[in-house]
């Protein structure tokens, strides 16, 4: 306890009765409790003195997750977040106050929790999850993700799957993942290599709305088309290399003005400041209550897994609160050909006439793979590389070649891309 109290001068030893409510659960098994459950001091000591938990994200879900974990008795909590606090966070990220705007979320959240819940140590890291290596992730018993980005989830998932060493039981780190949108959300438990992983379920994500560039340039019909015109075409034309900052009100103001003028020209109604901001920032509505539900579900699973006090979620819980309270709990199945946890190459059958360029297009359209700008190579040659520029240039002629000229039937192609958390193996066959 001494090392923990040093981080918080007001911390004292647990006062009598502090864990009265939770001890009801930890002192006695219930009808559905695993027989392995070590009721009493053993489980309490593990939870309060030994376990170490990592929270990814200190935003809408993260704030809730940190508070729940602290009250539940986790005392060694680490949190990673690369963002700073914005005024639009304050309607739900309840550890932050107006005076904190501009400060790092991880740091402010950690300080708040340590002040409010004595004796809990929260170690913040203001930065990216990609800054940390395997040794870092190896120190935790469990990881909870409260993220708003698909890419970060894919990276975290792939990292934890790769960490698993069958000879080292501790290398398996359960990952609990939550996500919300408006009145809807989901929580899931991933046991890397054992249950379905995040990558296994990529095809469940909604396809993002993309407007064809010719519509934006030539035949706008919706206010969104005018806003895209302003941000995708006009901004770079007028401002050159200057980067658009969607958090800068002046930039949004400029985009709004340009979009509104275009809308007026085409007699399109409905361009507003709020819509402009929504489209360019890809804003997802978010409220405290939905975050509370999903964060609580995640932390409850973390508590059950860490204590064995009750069975845990197998393995996916989704909730829709727009029409009553509707939820669905089910087992999402592992995909044998999952590029992350399946350990097999993805089979793909091509027409022998298919060009490299067409293959690239097919790959970027596949909802279960979600690849942007892929680079392709075989064990012996580079087929097409997106970067660096000189290699892009030297491999560009291959785009027009048929894949069948470059890869024999049954041959493997390695796909890499900045959106892929791993390299993907394709096994190519040809239809005849």
């Amino acid at each position: 306890m001494a090392s923990q109290s040093s981080s918080n001068p007001s911390a004292s030893a647990d006062w009598p009765g502090r864990y009265h409510h939770i001890d009801h659960i930890l002192d006695t098994p219930g009808p559905r409790t695993d027989p392995e459950f070590a009721a009493g001091d053993q489980v309490k000591n593990f939870l309060r003195k030994e376990s170490k938990i990592l929270v990814i994200g200190a935003g809408g879900l993260g704030c809730e997750i940190l508070a729940n974990l602290a009250l539940t008795g986790f005392k060694d909590i680490h949190v990673i977040d690369m963002d700073t606090i914005d005024i639009s966070n304050l309607n739900r990220q309840f550890l932050f106050r107006p005076k904190d705007v501009g400060q790092p979320k991880a740091t402010v959240a950690a300080e708040f929790i340590m002040k409010r819940v004595p004796g809990v140590k929260v170690t913040p890291y203001f930065g990216k999850i990609q800054d940390k290596d395997d040794d870092y992730y190896m120190q935790f018993n469990l990881v909870i993700c409260g993220l708003d980005s698909v890419e970060a989830r894919r990276w975290m998932n792939a990292t934890l799957v790769n960490l698993v060493d069958p000879d080292v039981p501790d290398s398996l780190k359960p990952m609990i993942d939550g996500g919300t949108e408006g009145f809807k959300g989901q929580a899931r438990v991933i046991l890397p290599t054992i249950t379905s992983c995040y990558e296994c379920s990529l095809d469940m994500l909604n396809k993002p709305t993309a407007f064809p560039i010719c519509t934006i340039a030539n035949t706008p019909r919706l206010p969104e088309h005018c806003i895209e015109w302003a941000s995708v075409l006009e901004w770079p034309r007028v401002h050159g290399d200057k980067k658009m900052d969607t958090d800068d009100p002046e930039h949004i103001g400029w985009l709004y003005k340009v979009a509104a003028a275009r809308a007026a020209e085409f007699k399109i109604e409905g361009v507003t400041w709020s819509l402009t901001q929504g489209v360019v920032k890809n804003i997802i509505p978010a409220i405290a209550s939905t975050n509370a539900i999903i964060a609580a579900a995640c932390c409850n699973e973390a508590f059950k897994i860490s204590t064995s006090s009750a069975a845990f979620l197998n393995n996916y819980f989704m909730l829709i609160g727009t029409d009553g309270v509707y939820s669905y709990t089910f087992e999402h199945e592992k995909r044998d050909d999952c590029p992350v946890c399946g350990g097999q190459a993805v089979d793909i059958t091509l027409n022998p006439e298919t060009t490299v360029e067409q293959l690239i297009e097919t790959l970027t359209e596949r909802q279960d793979l979600q690849i942007k700008k892929p680079s392709l190579s075989t064990p012996t040659k580079q087929i097409y590389l997106q970067a660096p520029p000189q290699l892009e240039k030297s491999t560009r002629p291959n785009l027009e070649k048929k894949v069948s000229e470059l890869v024999p039937p049954g041959g493997e192609v390695t796909v890499t891309s900045s959106t892929l958390p791993m390299s993907l193996s394709l096994r190519i066959s040809y239809s005849t």
């Binding site: 009801h24 304050l90 408006g182 709004y256 003005k257 003028a261 007026a264 709020s274 059950k304 909730l319």
Partner: protein
């Protein structure tokens, strides 16, 4: 030149009407996208009472203070115990012990949003029920967590006495299990935020749409124009031709529908005309008859609609007018709306079509309004017409009526055994709490709880098989207000309270049961 100057003028007017949002709008941006300014203003005028200052209660309040309710009061005479200080985030650990639980919680909750007014009332609910009942009726909504059976019955009966009295949200939890119920007489929703859009009425085209569709000279049209005709015109035209050739009937069999699709594709001048491909994929709109949904039709015969009086709430006047509109207008359909989905088209053709729909929608709205016998706010009429396919009328029952109805419980044993098991285990706990000294620790045995639950069922009906799982958990941790259960209830109850106050989205109908061992939620119908 004239056109140019008009454009500039229009764009500057647009600029003047909307500037960068103020701080309040920025703070609430992510929620305004869900319930708009109307929902926000409803929240800001609401006054909530919460009994009492438990971890679950403060979790619920947190999710209501953050989005900005107007006022809340916590009614709680207790002092903070060491146990409270350990499980409630809105107490400050050991330094809160011995202080008023309501005052400490109000102070810390108010830090979340300085636009919200919070008050601590240190009386007991019993005292209020005995001496100051009227005070309870001044709130818009009352939330009660884990009240013992006798008090809960008094409170729920009192608030049921008059339709104008506050809605009551009843929350019960024990360890990993929980249940909540919202007691209301009647709840009407116009802005239900449906996932489905209104019909484009392609099968019943309005005169201007039919006229313009028939006037199109597809054969002699310029190729570029041809590839940019919105599918609505194409479908109206093909359907019209089809009906002429088929005694006025739309395609009805599978074979006919395939043939209909082929006719559409045969009209292409080039193989890559996306608007015709889109027309083919949207062809179902041509043969799907525009009808009034059965749930909306059922509203027309509701006694509050058929017996409309000048003092009836606007909702019923609007439904009454809608029923007249459907009955008397030649299409026998709901009023047309101007919401047009995006489709392959050039700007002019799309905007013209949008204008046609808008003008017609305005005309139909005028006709609709002529059926109204009282004056209703324009914004409300607009919202009503826009959502007339997804209106909602819910009629609730008094809390406790389920447990007083052995026959209904017996039916639920058959149909919803899992949900009912949790409900019965929690009901058994609530009633056992009434039978002992107030504030005494509750340590019920499985046998005692089972006997209470069994007594609610008719003679000869056995408790469901899953009851053992539920009652075992209740006996394991009868009083445990677990942080995660409290937090989850905090979110789920706050969502429902927001839906009740804003009258947007659809609240629960019945009891919501929560099991955090297997992580599921379920409903017991009213």
């Amino acid at each position: 030149m004239i056109n140019d100057s008009k454009n500039v003028e229009e764009s500057t007017t647009a600029l003047a009407t909307e500037e960068a949002p103020d701080n309040k709008t920025r703070r609430y941006d992510r929620q305004l996208r869900l319930w708009a300014a109307s929902g926000q203003s409803a929240l800001e005028s609401s006054r909530l009472l919460v009994i009492s200052g438990t971890a679950t209660s403060t979790s619920i309040l947190k999710n209501l203070v953050l989005p900005g309710i107007g006022h809340f009061t916590i009614l709680d005479p207790r002092k903070v115990t060491p146990e409270d200080a350990g499980n409630n985030f809105f107490l400050e650990g050991p330094s809160s012990i011995g202080k008023s639980r309501a005052e400490e919680a109000v102070r810390l909750l108010c830090e979340l949003n300085d636009g919200v007014e919070g008050k601590a009332d240190l009386r007991s609910l019993e005292e209020v029920l005995d001496k100051d009942k009227e005070w309870l009726t001044e709130f818009s909504l009352v939330i009660a967590h884990n009240l013992e059976g006798g008090l809960l019955e008094r409170l729920s009966k009192l608030l049921w006495e008059d339709e104008s009295y506050p809605t009551l949200a009843i929350v019960r939890s024990s360890g990993f299990l929980a249940e909540f119920y919202i007691q209301y007489h009647e709840h009407t929703v116009i802005e239900s935020h449906p996932e489905t859009a209104q019909s484009l009425q392609i099968d019943k085209p309005f005169p201007a749409l039919l006229r313009d569709s028939l006037a199109l000279d597809f054969e002699n049209m310029d190729v570029t124009d041809h590839g940019h005709i919105p599918y609505v015109y194409i479908l109206v035209r093909v359907l019209e031709d089809w009906k002429k050739a088929h005694n006025g009937s739309p395609p009805s069999t599978y074979a006919e529908r395939q043939e209909f699709k082929k006719l559409i594709l045969a009209m292409r001048k080039k193989s890559d005309e996306e608007n015709f491909e889109e027309a083919e994929s949207q062809a179902y709109r041509a043969w799907t008859a525009t009808t009034v949904p059965s749930e909306i039709r059922a509203l027309f015969s509701d006694s509050k609609v058929t017996n409309i009086t000048s003092t009836s709430p606007p909702f019923f006047h609007l439904v009454h007018a809608l029923s007249k509109f459907v009955e008397e207008q030649p299409n026998h359909a709901l009023p047309l709306t101007s919401t047009l989905p995006d489709m392959k088209a050039d700007t002019n053709k799309y905007i013209n079509l949008q204008k046609l729909y808008k003008e017609r929608a305005e005309e139909e709205k005028k006709i609709f309004k002529s059926y109204l016998t009282v004056s209703v706010d324009d914004a409300m009429v607009d919202a009503f017409v826009k959502n007339s396919h997804a209106l909602k009328l819910l009629r609730g029952k008094r809390w406790g009526s389920l447990d007083e109805d052995p026959k209904a419980l017996a039916e639920l044993v058959e149909t919803s055994s899992k949900q009912l098991s949790t409900h019965l285990a929690l009901s058994a706990l609530t009633s056992l709490a009434t039978k002992q000294q107030p504030n005494a620790p509750l340590t019920p045995t499985i046998e005692a709880l089972t006997a209470e639950a069994q007594a609610l069922l008719p003679a000869g009906v056995e408790l469901p098989a899953e009851f053992g799982d539920a009652v075992g958990e209740v006996a394991r941790a009868p009083n445990a207000d677990l942080p995660n259960t409290a937090a989850l209830l905090g979110g789920i109850v706050a969502q429902e309270v927001i839906k009740m106050i804003t009258k947007q989205y659809i609240p629960i109908y019945g009891s919501c049961i929560i099991d955090l061992i297997e992580t599921w939620t379920g409903m017991l119908p009213v």
